[in-house]
Assembly symmetry: C2
Homo-oligomer: 234 residues x 2
DNA sequence: GAGTGGTCTAGACCACGGT
DNA sequence: CCGTGGTCTAGACCACTCA
């Protein structure tokens, strides 16, 4: 069984070393050979081995320290790259037609928890936007979004019929940093009505705060209709 | 404001180029200079630029093609690294004491959906394990797990009182590929009793299937007590 | 102090893929 | 065809950190 064509490419060497680690050649936490040693074993230069080992370190398979050498990571923490989906693409890639309806759009004081997550004082007015995302005409997700008009002054006049707020912001505001949470909530009366489900239904929910150079841009709380799954691979 | 000490390290050059992309020097989808050009601009070797651009490509900021050059990725998809938490560490890092109780352990035919997710025939017996994870004596998460005894023959006699099944498997089946899903479910009667919540409560749930060389190892469905959030940064 | 990883360089060859 | 990125090499210097 031929897992990876190797050759002396850093890819090949990375996979070869990975296979040896997986195969149990070294115990968890144990020191593995140095770069020079591997270079000799695979008849390649130390740089190539360096790249291979750096990649494994980046994946969390090994831990490296100067002078300390490279060791197999004691607890293999599974780490995954999670793609934050863009709703339109998500719907369309499932073969459904995407549309959205703006249910509400107004300037108002945010609830305390929202102000807190955006690191803003309680008396700072925000633009509040409620959007229903539809897949094939059926509710797919309901979004409550708050946008700071100080950071994004153009947002108030933006035309959001053709392009959703999410994509508008991505396009106009160079994104810098953000925090996100995933959780489950029970549908309240408004959510139940919007998504056409029974009150109390369990809804998969994503909260996101994004920042541009220490200024809060937007906070969104996105509730998916029941049945939704966020899939990824380990 | 000094965002990144640069120098001519690939880090520094990566951040410098990132800043120029974020700053809007090139449009979305536009071709940016070639490696040689950047090397001249930053007075460094092409290899260094190559590493920097490869890193940006790995992050999804740019797209590269031989002969096609490097271009700014049309849709900046926020991509995050999600650490799949190990429950014990998660509890302990919150300052609580961790413990677990095995509620059930038996060999049986799995439900159809479980067999399907593990790519197994319906008549393949699995070990079924139910574990309650506690934080400070209170229910924290409830886990239903199925393990394939063909792939992991030692599991049936494993002592799971000191070490949880999750950690036992990580230790004995060092590396594996897997798929995972996140979703929200309503507590059924059994879940409600286990987690001491009202039936119908929304529970944040993670499903995971892991594989070792084309053989299914285990499938788990993990339900967190209400209030749980999975946090990460973008 | 000495060993290990981290990095840079300059030159070289190759593979892919638009023109 | 030929320009672009992908990679390798050999040698070199540096920085961290353990003994």
């Amino acid at each position: 069984m031929n897992i990876a064509a190797q050759a002396t490419t850093h890819h090949g060497i990375r996979e070869a070393i990975r296979a040896r680690i997986v195969g149990g050649e070294w115990d968890l936490g144990e020191l593995i050979p140095g770069e020079a040693e591997f270079a000799a074993q695979y008849s390649c230069s130390r740089s190539t081995v360096n790249r291979a080992l750096q990649a494994l370190a980046h994946e969390g398979i090994v831990e490296r320290k100067r002078k300390g050498g490279t060791r197999v990571r004691p607890l293999q923490l599974p780490q995954a790259r999670l793609r934050i989906p863009i709703i339109r693409e998500e719907v369309q890639s499932a073969g459904q037609t995407y549309s959205h309806r703006i249910m509400r759009r107004e300037r108002q004081l945010p609830p305390g928890d929202v102000a807190q997550r955006m690191h803003l004082p309680d008396d700072h007015e925000l633009i509040h936007l409620q959007t229903l995302h539809l897949a094939g005409g059926e509710p797919f997700a309901f979004e409550r979004r708050w946008v700071d008009p100080v950071t994004v002054p153009d947002f108030e006049e933006a035309d959001l019929t053709a392009i959703s707020a999410n994509e508008w912001l991505i396009r106009m505001v160079p994104f810098s940093r953000g925090e996100a949470s995933l959780l489950a909530v029970s549908a309240d009366a408004e959510l139940a009505q919007m998504l056409k489900v029974a009150p109390g239904e369990a809804l998969f929910t994503m909260e996101r705060t994004t920042w541009f150079e220490e200024r809060s841009v937007t906070f969104t709380r996105l509730h998916y209709a029941p049945g939704y799954r966020l899939n990824f691979s380990l």
